[in-house]
Amino acid sequence: MAEMNLVQAINGALASEMRQNNDVVVLGEDVGKVGGVFRVTQGLYDEFGENRVIDTPLAEGGIIGTAVGMALYGLRPVPEIQFADFIFPAFDQIVSEVAKFRYRSGGEYTCPMVIRTPVGGGIRGGHYHSQSPESLFIHTAGLKVVCPSNPYDAKGLLLSAIRDDDPVLFFEPKRVYRAVKAEVPEEDYTIPIGKAKVVREGNDVTVVAWGAMLFEALASATEVAEQGVDAEVIDLRTLWPVDIDSIVESVKKTGRLVIVHEAPKACGFGAELLSLAVEKCFVHLEAPPVRVTGWDTPFPYTLEMEYLPLQHRITPALLETAQYVP
């Protein structure tokens, strides 16, 4: 076992899967020689050559469109979109084609692929290097959406995603690309898609988070513990299909729910999580579930730390929710 950061864990998982499965190909802008602008694909070009690690022309629609063709043929493409903010030129291919191929062809064609892309803010990226567009893909039937928070999960989830017979959006929280380190086993292991993880048990209030915000949620949980509030923190890991059982179980126990995400509030995934909790746990809710999210503005540059739902905003939400009396 070696200590790795998120970049290394993903890089290692890609390399090991490419060694085991000749059908796995990586494609995207700058993924080749230079190994990606975040160096997540570093070394792959040298090891696997330009037929399996493809520097594409600058067109996200082409990256996904050709990846669809590869998947239809039987390869397992792992396209990279350089920043999630730049996924929109490929949006038509993803929502109209990738998501619907199995369904619309009566199962004759399938389109398994893992679309890797860095998400989230806190890296001084401003409008176009900070966004978290997960809810757009969750709304689109036919896609799975994953977002690991740490190197161990990242490897296990990426291996599951590549082996999955359905297309997976694999969002990588770039703020913690190098900040979070963990022991990652060298051997093959998978973490099932669709299973959340309770990373801190507690009885008073449930916090649901993922990606970089998980650490903010955990910090808040520690902070409120000092004030006698015992928070349970769930790392979703898979956003869709969400692990409803883990959420329901926790909310039934605590009766209180705080959801944290970076994306804007309106029609963000928090709205779906809140709605599911209400639909499934109405009588158990002792306080209104709360969303702590990015504001409904474009993602700002200078004030980004005031935009993000960090510890300073999660903590009061936890306290208020835990202490709520109708």
């Binding site: 594409t56 469109g65 669809v68 030129p89 191929f101 619309r104 009566g106």
Partner: protein, 378 residues
């Protein structure tokens, strides 16, 4: 300093053959030996019959739609030669990525007529389980793609597919159909550009039928031709008389053989004309003059071939009538069968969104099945 280019211009019907666009089938039915692909007579007859069958089916389906028995049809009246000729030029191991107007190519590939008609009805035996509109078929066993409405999306897919084959050492080639309107889509741009860079064995088949619904090809681009667009991608661009099934066959076949040998993609602009409306939802009289239609009718691909076959005593009027009747009868039987079939069962609504049904679809399926049924009005 200006880049120099000589490109063949967008053509009128009178210019769609001859000169620098080689024809095989002359309007009077004689053959231009120079460009003749030299097929066996039986093969030529097969091409002819496939075109006739396509036209018969088109006529009938249009009628069915008028009668309200099917919801929609998108036909290929006048475009039979470029569709059948290009489909026939693909070798057995090759793959066809359709646009939406190429059911003729689907049937050429051996897709059962009954399955096609079942798709028109979206019934229980429809391969795609009634999930898509009529004429949105899928035919993987026949190495045929899956029709999607959004314009152009199949183009990049065909590139990735054939590149994948090549990367695996296979000589499978893909062809991909699209209209001249689709050359404006981002997918055309990206597909041609990626195809050029990746040297993928892809045959880009542009059916230039002169219209994109109500928009004439002159408003689609200021380029001198659609074939010329290949220059932007380092992809050879070729124009062919798309109303000449033999010339189309030849040009496409050459491109396929070149691609299979690692020679890369070709863009082929097939000059033809959409004689009918865009689809059964469209009435072209609102935007084009009948005279133009009549001029193009003179280049009719079926007529030309029929003249030829008659000239060489390989076919006669009697046989023609009999064959059309046969096609009609075959189709009628399929229609009858399709109309007798049930709709796809309710629970299929939730199948195949994913390989395995997740909890939320299980729940929704249960809700639908245990709930009341819709009145089936529209």
């Amino acid at each position: 300093m200006q880049t120099q280019t000589q490109v063949v211009p967008i053509r009128t019907p009178e210019q769609s053959s001859g000169d620098d666009i080689p024809t095989v089938l002359q309007p009077d039915g004689t053959l231009n030996e120079a460009h003749d692909p030299k097929l066996e007579l039986s093969e030529v007859l097969d091409l002819y019959k496939a075109m006739v069958r396509t036209r018969v089916i088109d006529g009938q389906l249009e009628r069915l739609q008028r009668q309200g028995r099917i919801g929609f049809h998108i036909g290929s009246l006048g475009e039979e030669a470029c569709i059948i000729g290009s489909a026939a030029a693909m070798r057995e191991q090759d793959w066809i990525f359709p646009c939406y107007r190429e059911f003729g190519a689907l049937l050429w590939r051996g897709f059962p007529l009954q399955s096609y008609v079942d798709n028109m009805y979206g019934n229980v035996d429809d391969v795609v389980q009634g999930r898509q509109m009529p004429d949105h078929y899928t035919g993987r066993p026949y190495r045929f793609g899956s029709v999607s409405s959004p314009i152009g999306t199949q183009i990049t897919q065909a590139v990735g597919f054939s590149w994948a084959a090549m990367s695996k050492g296979s000589d499978e080639v893909s062809s991909v159909y699209f209209g001249e309107g689709a050359t404006s889509s981002s997918e055309f741009h990206t597909g041609l550009n990626f195809g050029g860079v990746m040297n993928s064995p892809t045959i880009f088949l542009c059916r230039n039928n002169r219209w994109a619904i109500s928009v004439p090809s002159e408003k689609q681009t200021a380029s001198e031709s659609f074939a010329a667009k290949g220059i932007a991608y380092g992809v050879p661009g070729v124009q062919v008389d798309g109303n000449d099934v033999l010339a189309t066959y030849k040009v496409v076949r050459e491109a396929v053989e070149k691609a299979a040998k690692g020679g890369g993609p070709t863009l082929i602009e097939m000059l033809t004309y959409r004689v009918g409306g865009h689809s059964t939802s469209d009435d072209p009289r609102a935007y084009r003059v009948q005279d133009e239609v009549e001029r193009w009718r003179k280049t009719d691909p079926i007529l030309r071939m029929k003249l030829h076959l008659e000239k060489i005593d390989a076919w006669n009027e009697e046989q023609d009538e009999a064959f059309k009747k046969e096609c009609e009868a075959e189709l009628k039987a399929c229609i009858k069968a399709a109309e007798a079939k049930e709709k796809p069962p309710l629970e299929t609504m939730f199948d195949g969104v994913f390989a395995e049904k997740p909890w939320h679809l299980e729940e929704q399926q249960a809700e639908l099945l245990s709930g009341p049924r819709a009145k089936d009005h529209h």
